[in-house]
């Protein structure tokens, strides 16, 4: 039963990554692309946390409810959670940079359409 729980989380994460990638590839409005990027970011974070999840265990915070001798058989992997915690904060900083660059470029070209931002091409 817990396998269905386990794999449906992975399916959600992969679905979010693919949807966000599709949006980044096909949309035209700068902010719409930034929103799709945020959705893909959320999916990537979900997939990372999922990779450290062990079914039937509890959160890696040790209080009275976990006996000190059985920690290694009671908690999930703390390492992916620590990585994702920093990744989320970086993600929103990158999104802010994305939005500011998009706003400045669209004010220069007079349109929010990315196909008209020829100065940003390389």
């Amino acid at each position: 039963m817990s396998t269905a729980f386990y794999w449906s989380i992975a399916g959600t994460a992969a679905g979010l990554i693919l949807v966000g990638l599709w949006g980044v590839l096909t949309r035209k409005h700068v902010l719409r692309i930034a929103l799709a990027f945020t959705v893909a970011d959320t999916g990537a974070n979900l997939l990372l946390v999922w990779s450290g999840y062990l079914p039937g265990r509890t959160a890696p915070v040790i209080d009275g409810s976990i006996p000190a001798s059985e920690i290694t058989s009671a908690v999930v992997d703390p390492l992916p959670q620590a990585m994702v915690l920093t990744s989320i904060v970086i993600g929103v900083a990158v999104a802010a940079l994305f939005v500011v660059v998009g706003v400045l470029a669209s004010r220069r070209t007079g349109s929010a359409d990315v196909r008209r931002m020829k100065e940003l091409r390389w």
Partner: protein, 87 residues
């Protein structure tokens, strides 16, 4: 007894969340969607407390507390935006 209780609780929470989500997708105007988001966050706060209850760890209630306060703040930001400020 306990099983019936949790099943009914989950049925109510999931049904409410689904209804709010349908309004979030269908809503004609931005205000409809903002109200739907507010409802959905309110129900998800209850869902978080429910999960903490199922796991049996009171520590997880911290998440529900900060979620409720900050979701109100986010809806307030959207409302201030709809009001015409912040341009």
């Amino acid at each position: 007894m306990s099983n019936t209780f949790t099943s009914i609780l989950f049925g109510l929470l999931g049904g409410g969340l689904l209804l709010a989500f349908i309004r979030l997708l269908k809503g004609q105007h931005g205000t409809d969607r903002a109200v739907a988001l507010d409802t959905a966050t309110l129900i998800s706060t209850n869902l978080l407390v429910f999960i903490a209850f199922l796991e049996g760890r009171s520590m997880l209630i911290d998440v529900a507390m900060v979620y409720s306060v900050l979701s109100f703040l986010g809806v307030l930001a959207i409302a201030r935006y709809l009001d015409g400020g912040l341009r």
